[in-house]
């Protein structure tokens, strides 16, 4: 194996450009003759557009064009990517999501007009001069009242605010109800999974270009998923043929889900570029990001856990209302259903699981997948109710979990929520956690905290998630309207260095470093001779993008398969060069050889032969050395973990300080442990942010109260402890060729219940009768809970 193959903590090659200010993010591009776009956005949450007078704005200096919803009536809308069927067999309600609002505005920030001008300031001046007569209507904000349909509708034409009413698994409903009715013990918990704003540090930005000479369009955009944007723009929104549209996603400053989706602003700059024959650029302000990026989470849930007196689980039953906001964002219907309901068995051998999810339209920004997407919601509900149950039964929270864990010899395990877990060892993770987090020393630390007047608590959590989202056949049955494979082309150039075109997009995940480690490992070549090409639909075969912790498990596997094909062909060429049969050729460390002889040829010579095919068996073998693979896995991957945290609560102020955070994860085979550790640490910060700080709050009129970083609390360095991250307790994923499970979302899934469990534990040990506090567990909420 060469240095820097699978398992090496290779330093990231992309860092050099980022550290020297030479990264190239979308806003860093300003093509010649660029014009600038600014949007007129609704100030009200729900309103009837009576008229929009753009004449004064159009006459202002520098203004080139103004668009309103009228201009897009003839084109399509931005579709939902996942069709959900309600319990009664009815398809979900799918109101059109237009490029610009038409007829009604449906949330604060809903764009109803766009101005293109020579400069951004001129465009912004003209936006202020647009005279829009918008009659404010009552807003639908609270989900319970939205579901009641007693007043206003977000979309009049569908006659309801309920998008769907979904049961999973509907056939299990009666048995689950019956089991709960008969159970010796039932723990019930009502909770809110707080609404979050992803807040990737780079705001969204899109540049549209059109070449009238060729009819070609180019969209440079902040996307996790450039092929999906191209597909949606082509097939659903603008009808631009895919072969005439290139979508580029250059360096992207974080996504966390919010940049998976196609947004109306992307279509707008393309349409405007065509009309004007000039590049059109739009860059979101942070304020626009708060108002118009897809938000995350936002569930209101009641969960019941039924068990024997000894803590053996009998049933989990969940009723959830999931906010989808004013319009269906691309994966908004998959997130609260198949990414949530299917995980509601957790790590446990529970026989009965039933989940009911009502998706609800409200006059708020669209809600869609945000790091973890449905799985944090599932884990939080389960792991909170299990902790509450343990407390009610007087059991140790570790013991109750161990009692119900799926055991290591039970795989593959068909969960009661419909998934088949392929591998895992939850007891081993919990064993490791007890040691690493030093449970034995907790009591002494608690006593020390008490001397300082602080209440100390210990919270634990066990999670499982399904990621590496695929396979297409399965998700197709479940309602997906796209495939969820990925693709890669491995191109060995004549001089032996290698370009790998991948469908996954790297925006922090380090693909440019990690993917070459796989190829180098397989080919026995120096990883420095391998480069990754991503984020350009004109260069890459196809791709389904980066989200759902899928890049390595799915796209990495495509890279693996394409490299296997390279080895097969190179072996055939080598066999010809060595005058023997391919079956007799060994390939290791970059050298093809015949066992028992001194005959060998290096990989570089084989590559050269492929492109200079003199004395070449042209009848049976094509020249060139380039292979493409589309990989569609047989199953999700199932990372799991055990987390622990100790917190101190200041009983006078309610402030929670995190003293320790220990994360043990099973990710299967780890390609680059440095990058994996970083992914977990970032996820932990976001999960802790959700648990303690972050909250997207609308008032009753649909105004976003937490609409800037002055009111939306992002985790800062001094809010967080040093993390302990360990991924040594690994069980191999046994259905993809690398053996890896996804790692991108784990930290954000496992940490919120850990923290809340720790806070509740601290309060309980301090003598406070508090069994739950909703996130974010802010000082004021803790204080209120202690003083209720």
């Amino acid at each position: 194996m060469p240095d820097g193959g699978i398992g090496a903590p290779t330093k990231r090659r992309e860092d050099t450009r980022f550290l020297t200010g030479r990264g190239k993010y979308t806003d860093d591009f300003t093509p010649q003759n660029t014009s600038y776009c600014a949007f007129a956005r609704s100030q009200v949450a729900n309103g009837k557009i009576k008229s929009i007078d753009t004449s004064a704005a159009a006459a202002m200096p520098g203004v080139l064009a103004i668009f309103t919803g009228e201009d897009f009536v003839e084109v399509g809308g931005n579709p939902a990517g996942w069709a959900i069927v309600s319990r009664d067999g009815e398809p979900m309600k799918e109101p059109k999501r237009p490029v610009l609002a038409h007829g009604k505005v449906r949330h604060v920030g809903d764009a109803y007009a766009a101005v293109i001008a020579d400069t951004l300031e001129e465009a912004m001046d003209a936006v202020e001069a647009i005279e829009a007569d918008i009659e404010e209507l009552d807003a639908v904000v609270d989900m319970a009242s939205a579901v009641a349909n007693s007043g206003t509708l977000v979309h009049d034409e569908i006659g309801t605010n309920t998008c769907f009413d979904w049961g999973w698994i509907e056939d299990n409903r009666a048995a689950t109800d019956e089991a709960i009715k008969k159970a010796p013990h039932v723990t019930t918990l009502e909770l809110i999974n707080n609404r979050l704003v992803p807040n990737a540090l780079e705001p969204r930005c899109s540049i549209g270009e059109y070449d009238p000479g060729t009819g070609d369009y180019k969209l440079t955009t902040t996307s996790q998923n450039p092929h999906l944007s191209r597909l949606l723009i082509s097939a659903f929104v603008l009808g631009i043929p895919e072969n005439k549209l290139t979508v580029l996603a250059p360096d992207v400053g974080g996504g966390f889900g919010s940049k998976i989706y196609h947004y109306g602003e992307e279509a707008l700059v393309l349409a405007a570029a065509k009309k004007l024959g000039r590049p059109v650029k739009w860059t979101a302000t942070r304020t626009e990001a708060f108002l118009s990026d897809a938000h995350g989470r936002d569930h209101v849930t009641k969960i019941e856990l039924a068990c024997e007196k000894d803590g053996t689980f009998i049933a989990f039953r969940t009723e959830t209302m999931a906010n989808v906001g004013a319009y269906l964002s691309n994966f908004s219907t998959a997130t609260p259903t198949f990414l949530h309901g299917t995980l509601m068995a957790g790590n446990y051998t529970v026989p009965n699981v039933y989940v009911n999810v009502k998706a609800v339209f409200t006059n708020t920004a669209p809600v869609d997948a945000y790091r973890g997407a449905g799985r944090p919601e599932a884990t939080y509900s389960l792991e909170r109710v299990i902790d509450k149950c343990a407390r009610e039964l007087g059991m140790d929270p570790v013991e109750i979990r161990r009692k119900n864990f799926i055991k290591k010899d039970q795989y593959p395990y068909a969960s009661a929520a419909g998934l088949e877990y392929d591998s895992g060892n939850y007891d081993a993770l919990m064993d490791g956690l007890e040691k690493t987090a030093d449970f034995a020393g907790f009591e002494a630390r608690r006593a020390e905290s008490a001397k300082q007047g602080k209440l100390r608590g210990l919270g634990i959590n066990a999670y499982i998630e399904a990621c590496g989202i695929a396979p297409s056949n399965l998700v197709g049955i479940l309602g997906a309207r796209v495939g969820l494979y990925d693709a890669a082309t491995v191109r060995v150039n004549p001089t032996g260095n290698i370009s790998v075109m991948v469908g996954a997009h790297s925006h922090g995940q380090g693909h440019e470093t990690a993917f070459p480690q796989i190829v180098a490992d397989m080919l026995g070549v120096d990883p420095e001779t391998i480069d990754i090409v991503h984020g350009d639909t004109s260069k890459i075969p196809f791709g389904m993008g980066t989200y759902g912790s899928r890049s390595l498990a799915v796209c990495g596997s495509a890279v693996f398969r394409a490299t296997e094909k390279i080895i097969v062909k190179a072996t055939a060429i080598a066999a010809h060069m060595l005058e023997d049969e391919p079956d007799n050729i060994d390939f290791s460390d970059g050298v093809f050889s015949i066992a028992g002889t001194n005959k060998s040829v290096g990989f570089g010579d084989v590559a050269l032969k492929a492109y200079i095919p003199h004395e070449y068996p042209i009848e049976g073998l094509e020249p060139g050395l380039e292979e493409t693979a589309f990989y569609d896995p047989a199953n999700f991957t199932y990372p799991s973990g055990a987390y622990a945290s100790e917190v101190e609560v200041d009983p006078e102020t309610g402030k929670v300080t995190i003293c320790s955070m220990v994360a043990l994860d099973d990710f299967g085979v780890v390609v680059n442990p440095m990058i994996v550790t970083g992914q977990v640490e970032g996820g932990l910060a976001q999960g802790i942010g959700q648990a303690l700080l972050e909250n997207s709050v609308y008032d009753d009129n649909g105004q976003l109260l937490s609409g800037s970083l002055m009111d939306y609390a992002m985790p800062r360095a001094d809010d967080l402890p040093s993390f302990v991250v360990d991924h040594s307790h690994a069980t191999r994923c046994n259905h993809n060729p690398i053996g890896s499970k996804g790692c991108g979302e784990a930290g954000a899934i496992g940490s919120p219940p850990t923290i809340v469990n720790a806070v509740v534990d601290a309060l309980a040990r301090g003598g406070h009768d508090v069994d739950h506090i909703d996130m974010p567990v802010s000082p004021s909420r803790v204080w209120a809970a202690m003083n209720k």
Binding site: G7, A8, P9, K11, R12, E14, D15, T16, R17, F18, L19, T20, G21, R22, G23, K24, Y25, D27, D28, T30, E121, N199, A200, L201, E202, P203, D251, G253, G254, T285, R286, H507, G508, Q509, V670, P673, M674, I675, T677, G678, E681, G682, G683, L684, A685, Q686, S708, L709, M710, M714, P715, R716, A717, D718, L720, S722, F723, H727, S728, G747
Partner: protein
Amino acid sequence: MPKVTMNINGRARSTEVENRTLLSTALREKLHLTGTHIGCDTSQCGACVVHVNGKAVKSCAVFAVELDGATIDTIEGQAAPDGSLNVIQQAFKDHHGLQCGFCTPGMVMSAAALLKDNPKPNEAEIRDYLEGNICRCTGYQGIVNAIMAASGQAVPAIAAE
């Protein structure tokens, strides 16, 4: 339009600006130094931190026109002329102090300012100093480790698996 001349990364640079042109805008759009990033509009995120006359400043919260004659250091001037990374940049690379890279220029410039005032900060001092720099990717662990390492303090290495 007023003209300002600033010494940027050791070189005199002149550009015409409007009074309302922010330093960040002047750097990015007039002088094509796009390493300085804009992540917010309330001066909270710190992606735009540069040094003005040796002090860390949020370049999105100062007008370029105020800075005629000032010395400005940006991320583009941190590496040696041959491209080799300075000690802070190298430590960020060695300790995985960045992921998407968007906050990184501001982080590196803030770290440089910290180490100038406090050459051996402890972990709490580092975390406190970074109050005005938001990173959404790393959870700050790699950044804190990098700054510790850049100041010559021991940081655990990540092992191969």
